[in-house]
Symmetry: D2
Subunit: 248 residues, 4 copies
């Protein structure tokens, strides 16, 4: 018999937002962490399991239907089929190039992960989120699905078409999913992360500025958690997040 | 000598959102509750003071500069000049009328409270919020100013021009204030309340629907509190809020 | 008996957009040009009358109900009551100031002209536009009302609150008016003028750049005329306009 | 030697908007009409050639890079390499389905035509549009590229995710292309067609309403033509279009 203890899934884990989300949600739920490269989730799986939480990591290509299906079979056999919270936090490779210089593969790379992958993930996770709205389940909060967007979700600059087309499309997906499943009790939200996140990869960026020029991953994780705890009378479907020194 | 214990101000108190905000913020701060009619804040002032919190109520016409100044003198003499959080939650009278039928006074009523009043309130409270960013002050979170908007902040329907022009203008104010004062450490946010709030006045509305068709005032208060607790690396400047059964 | 020959009204005339609109619409209609200062319309009234068109100028304070009513009485006695096209092209004084430094009068100056004046103008002109949808009138195109917005209609920067609150509110007005009166056959449009207009007052601006860095008033006038000629199966309710070298 | 007489390309031709665009632009330019099915362009090619214009039709799969390249080779050998105006008017198959019921292929169908195809088309046509900005070319207006969007470009409803993700992504593409190529003199615009277009396929829709409940294809064609004639000091980058009776 499948467990009815709800769990959380973070798709797109790496040092930064994904790790912060993993720690945050693991304080309440067993977590499944998805990333293509095991090195991107292994340290957090270990750390969470050592400190009394429960975590599994699954190597997943989030632009591939079969890879996502395989990941959800593992989740199901480990944790059951009641999902409390899921975050789609993946972005594809990033190309800053003229329209004239992008290959077709480079152009579609943004969409493949930001939107097609988000769709495939949504299809797989939604039945588990709907389970959490049913009777007999120990769900404290409405089941929640959050998509991580970016500045490029609402502004499409020159040379950014691969990334921004994917992120605009992800926002459309989030809105359509919210409108379809909110009436069934699933809380769907989209976050516009507008600024540089303070992670190892961006260490050299904005070096001449104080730390308030970058977004803290913990702050993002807290914001997503707060979305999760909203009651079904008070769903927030979109938030923006930026550091105090961001120009916008 | 002025106290350095930070306080909170809720402008536009009545049964519903204002009362919920008053209770929520009074659990952390002394609160000042502003409304034109004392009956709109008295029960909450009494209740908060009885249950171990601290509250004062001040009769204020939020479209009048002199009335707002007088209110802030009282706040200053009671609580000092360090404000942790302020909410502008007022709306003017509501007219559902054709452009051709509105008097000039009716048309400008929306702007007078939603925008001019919000401006006057911002001018009065901002120096107190800036105080909370200074050294020697016991501020746990970045000082926060939240404006309460509505569906009409982003959609202007037929017959709604008085209300929507005021709410669009308020949103412009919130964005300008955010851009000016975020770099100084003040968190400014705008909330789009998209739905019917579940208050005594709306008891008869949507009667044939379950309670998830209306927004709970407590949910709004929790959302504003969560905005307040965000660190200055992770400011959310706009949220929307709607019940799970809302069409949007 | 009132004339049934339709006329056009340009409110907010001066060298630049207003003058270009006056010339453009005078090639098809008698025009009434409104501005506070007669020097702002006299040259165009003279020029249009000399070159075979028909124009009158009326000194009008567009933030004053009585001044607008008086202007429309003059229009009615000169031209009758069938208006083919009206443009509200006025903005109030401009203040680039901190929220903390604006007087109440300075803050509300933006709204007074951009929104309250636009409302008063709309109330006065709408019955004349509706006349043009009736039988027995020689109207070639659906009667049209265009409001001139700005970058600040959709982006509210620091220090720009007086202007942007007025322009956001004007956009709300335009949308509400469009939704109320389009079903009655009146075409209502809002134009976001995003850039510096090439007029005498801006001669010294962007001097180091080619002329394609500024918007031509004639281009704006042509765009408004094209809006006017749209059939009632194909109304455009919002356009943006910027020069090729504008960053946006 | 390649001809320097500029031509126009309409991609996505069928009875309705494509046909109206073909006729409109053929009054000024030789036109190339692209559609997968020859029956969708043949009648217009014949009619234009008979009535003194010049038209060719090319069977093209607009989601296929090689098919688009082959089409542009034909255009180049027939008309040369100076393009005055191009319209991307294609949409993929339409699925009104729950997220849970869409196949991966159905979901991506919206993006494949609305965005990937628009990207491939843009890559192919942009060098020809840039040619029209060079000296020695007989170009009356700035070269123009228009993308046809829809209500779903800015609103993503339940059950519409395949279509809306493609259309949001197309809008992002249009904005990025506009920002990259406007400074080089190419006018890029996006049109939000918000309503039912009056074409043979929609004959039975809205039957109980007057003709002003649907958008006329000729009105769309005129609007695109008017965009094309704007000078480079006055580019409109986005318009909406709806019939007078549309609710919005």
């Amino acid at each position: 018999m499948a467990s009815t203890r709800p769990f959380a899934i973070i798709a797109g884990v790496g040092p930064g937002t994904g790790a912060a989300l993993a720690y945050k949600f693991s304080s309440a739920y067993p977590v499944a962490l998805l990333a293509r490269t095991p090195a991107n989730y292994e340290p957090y799986v270990d750390e969470i399991n050592k400190s009394g939480g429960k975590a599994i990591g699954i190597s997943t290509d989030l632009s591939s239907s079969s890879s996502i299906q395989s990941a959800f079979q593992k989740i199901n056999s480990e944790y059951g089929n009641v999902c409390a919270a899921a975050v789609y936090n993946a972005s594809g490779r990033f190309f800053r190039k003229s329209i004239l210089d992008l290959t077709e593969e480079e152009f579609t790379a943004g969409y493949d992960v930001s939107c097609k992958g988000a769709f495939l993930f949504t299809q797989a996770v939604m039945p588990m989120l709907l389970k959490a709205t049913e009777g007999g389940v120990d769900a404290k909060y409405p089941p929640t699905l959050v998509y991580t967007g970016a500045t490029a979700s609402v502004k499409s600059s020159a040379l950014m078409s691969s990334f921004s087309t994917g992120k605009y499309a992800m926002r459309a997906l989030a809105q359509s999913v919210a409108r379809e499943f909110a009436p069934k009790g699933v809380h769907v939200a989209h976050a516009i992360i507008d600024g540089v996140i303070d992670i190892p990869r961006t260490k050299e960026w904005l070096k001449d500025q104080p730390k308030e020029a970058k977004i803290s991953p913990q702050g993002i994780a807290d914001a997503y958690w707060n979305l999760h705890t909203q009651p079904n009378t008070t769903f927030t479907n979109e938030i923006d997040i930026r550091p105090m020194l961001e120009k916008w």
